[in-house]
Amino acid sequence: MHELSLCRGLIQLLQEQAQQQDFRRVTAVWLEVGPLAAVEPAAMAFGFRAASLGTLAQGARLHLVPCPARARCRACGHCMEIQSWEMVCSECGSTRLQILSGQTLTIRELEVE
């Protein structure tokens, strides 16, 4: 359940932003989740509710926004979108792929007061 730790970090980032950008409450958070980011959406939603209690984000909506993961084939150079770690090049069938993106968790937008 490392999602709870990540959500505590999320709240801390919101508190830093509140000081920098002068707001008192957060009513919604848009979080971009890569498919290889090692988090479970239901656990993130639970973790966010738990971590936000008594903070500036209590009651805020958490929107998880999917983003694509991309990889490059080391054999033929083809770049493609992938859904999971079990990667096969859609062009040449090689399993030697290099991950280019899809492991990140990024807050993209906030609704604040």
């Binding site: 009513t27 979080l31 990140t104 807050i107 906030l110």
Partner: protein, 255 residues
């Protein structure tokens, strides 16, 4: 006064979602959720560099033999270079005591309910190793093949340990941790004849997730393969020290 945000409006029913937009503004941001941990990890990394310490993050399921591997191999290493261990467990001092019994320094972190080590916890443990220099520091993570994967501790390399009794499909079941490791140690190979474990298939599965992962098969109990592990650590330690010396000589400081 409004009980939600302290404003002077009274014409709403306490529904934050309905109340919010009257004051709300949208902010475009780009905030990496791992950035808080990464700040601590970077501070650890700078500290390890200044102390000329090679740091290895050992990750595995509970019971795969992390502590056994260390207690069997660290006394020999300690004859060549300084060695220390940070032990991560939810509770007990047991693992630190096992390491100390071999004459090696150990610091225990008890994480309580936490399922992984993070860079902040490790930073405090490193406070107890201020005088530790030019050696190898092992961080034995909490036994867990899932949660530790996302948390950079400031290590130079990650080692994932898998024992044959766990099954050869673990790299496919827990890909994040195998993707992030530089070395997979297959432990308990003395038990392979008694369990349904296909070593070649296990390695193929790991390389499906991480084409570059190195592999060492060994038994901490019988000693088979331990020389490969010792050689792997020694090579990385020598690289670490020589890189540090190269940096130091670039700055015309004594090595």
């Amino acid at each position: 006064m409004c009980g939600i945000c302290g404003c002077n409006q009274t014409d709403h029913d306490g529904d934050a979602q309905r109340h919010g937009p009257a004051h709300a503004r949208r902010l475009q941001v780009e905030l990496d959720l791992f950035s808080l941990n990464d700040r601590h990890a970077q501070a650890n990394r700078e500290r390890f560099a200044s102390q000329q310490v090679l740091v290895l993050n050992l990750m595995s399921s509970p019971g795969s033999g992390k502590t056994a591997l260390l207690s069997e191999t660290l006394p020999a290493q300690q004859a060549k270079w300084p060695v220390a261990v940070i032990e991560g467990d939810q509770q007990t001092q047991n693992d630190a005591e096992r390491i100390r019994a071999t004459g090696v320094r150990a610091v225990q972190i008890n994480t309580g309910k936490l399922c992984h080590l993070d860079a902040h916890l490790v930073g405090h443990a490193v406070d107890e190793l201020e005088d530790f220099e030019r050696g190898v520091l092992y961080i034995e993570n909490v036994g867990n093949l899932v949660c530790p994967a996302g948390f950079d501790l400031g290590e130079a390399a990650r080692v994932v340990i898998l024992s044959v009794t766990e099954g050869d499909d673990k790299p496919l079941k827990y890909p994040d941790i195998f993707h992030s490791a530089q070395l997979m140690v297959i432990n308990k190979i003395d038990l392979a004849p008694y369990v349904d474990f296909d070593q070649a298939q296990c390695i193929a599965n790991a390389r499906r997730i991480n084409p570059d992962i190195e592999v060492i098969a060994l038994s901490a109990r019988t000693g088979e393969g331990l020389q490969d592990w010792q050689a792997w650590v020694e090579q990385r330690y020598r690289e670490r020290i020589s890189r540090q010396c190269a940096c130091a000589s670039d700055q015309q400081a004594p090595c």
